[in-house]
Symmetry: C2
């Protein structure tokens, strides 16, 4: 248990990011005090500003981590169930909708993230979920299964629809009841990209 300097620092960063996920998810970005946040993990604001520059820097790190987890989980789910590229696209899309049902993802990635860090397209982490969707679409375009359309545009629209749907579902009175409706609508919309499609 040598505890080198770099290891200590990595641990500090991890603790702060973890605390950020909790606090931002529960109270929202604006209502979260950096004094309380750092104290909750036995540190002070000094550690925060040294490691992340400012409050936004911590949010960026948190968003990056959550985004990566979402992408990884969605990819794993698509991998687990087999299927061709088209089915993978749908599975991933549905996985995003389901992932975005958690308050943590909604508050941090969908609401505060864009407001504080700007549109995801400019995020340094460059939105791994979006990249995965573009990958899928590119393969489909290569085999000519989807109409000739801008890959990036289609990916943006699809993900935007999925995540926005999740916000609506979560805000509804009975999320469990409307979630399938959202998934069905999403599937129909996506099918609009196919060149041939019987229901």
């Amino acid at each position: 248990m040598a505890a080198r300097r770099a290891e200590m620092m990595a641990e500090t960063r991890a603790k702060l990011i973890a605390a950020g996920r909790r606090a931002f998810a529960e109270k929202g970005y604006a209502a979260t005090s950096m004094d309380d946040l750092t104290a909750a993990v036995g540190l002070t604001r000094g550690a925060l500003y040294h490691n992340f520059g400012d409050k936004r820097g911590l949010l960026a790190a948190v968003v990056d981590q959550v985004d990566e987890e979402m992408a990884t989980r969605a990819a794993a789910e698509a991998e687990r169930r087999g299927g061709d590229d088209w089915e993978k696209l749908l599975i991933e899309g549905v996985a995003y909708i389901e992932a975005a049902m958690t308050p943590e993802v909604q508050r941090i990635v969908l609401l505060d993230g864009p407001a504080v860090l700007g549109d995801p397209s400019n995020w340094p982490s460059q939105n791994k979920c979006l990249a995965a969707t573009m990958d899928c679409l590119a393969r489909l375009a290569g085999t000519g299964r989807i109409k000739p359309v801008s890959i990036e545009a289609a990916a943006r629209l699809l993900n935007g629809a999925a995540l926005n749907a999740a916000l609506w579902v979560a805000a509804s009175e009975s999320p469990d009841a409307v979630l399938p409706e959202a998934i069905e609508a999403f599937t129909h919309l996506a099918s609009g990209l196919l060149v041939r499609e019987p229901a």
Copy 2:
């Protein structure tokens, strides 16, 4: 020019809302000081808190106004050009994308609005744009032109896709170049709702 008390108050509210649109659009909600905001129109924070309760109240009023303008413009555009219900749906969708190209709409309605006021589904103003889209879809469902799908879900997905697309377009290097791509992708996606559709 009697200047009744109620008229004065309405004027004050209008001035504050107008100032809010400017400041929120330019500097964002969080970076806007209510001291500066009110001073810019020759008032103090007293007027603000008396009329809107708090800072969020002003944002809600601003969002409501902008949202209503968007819906009105989109409806007018759909009216101006003729077409059946399906074409109206597309025209309105495209109108939303184009409206959301302005920094004012992006910053206020798409970024700060949801972050501060929560998901649009719970807004008291109840998102007039969404209502218009649902109207269109309901008529289309009535005549059996679209697949049997939850109207609300489809409307949410469509608007989510449209507005998200606008954020992406605006953030890109050459918005004019990618805007048509976004519109094309949107049209394709929407066509996924149709029961029969040749390209």
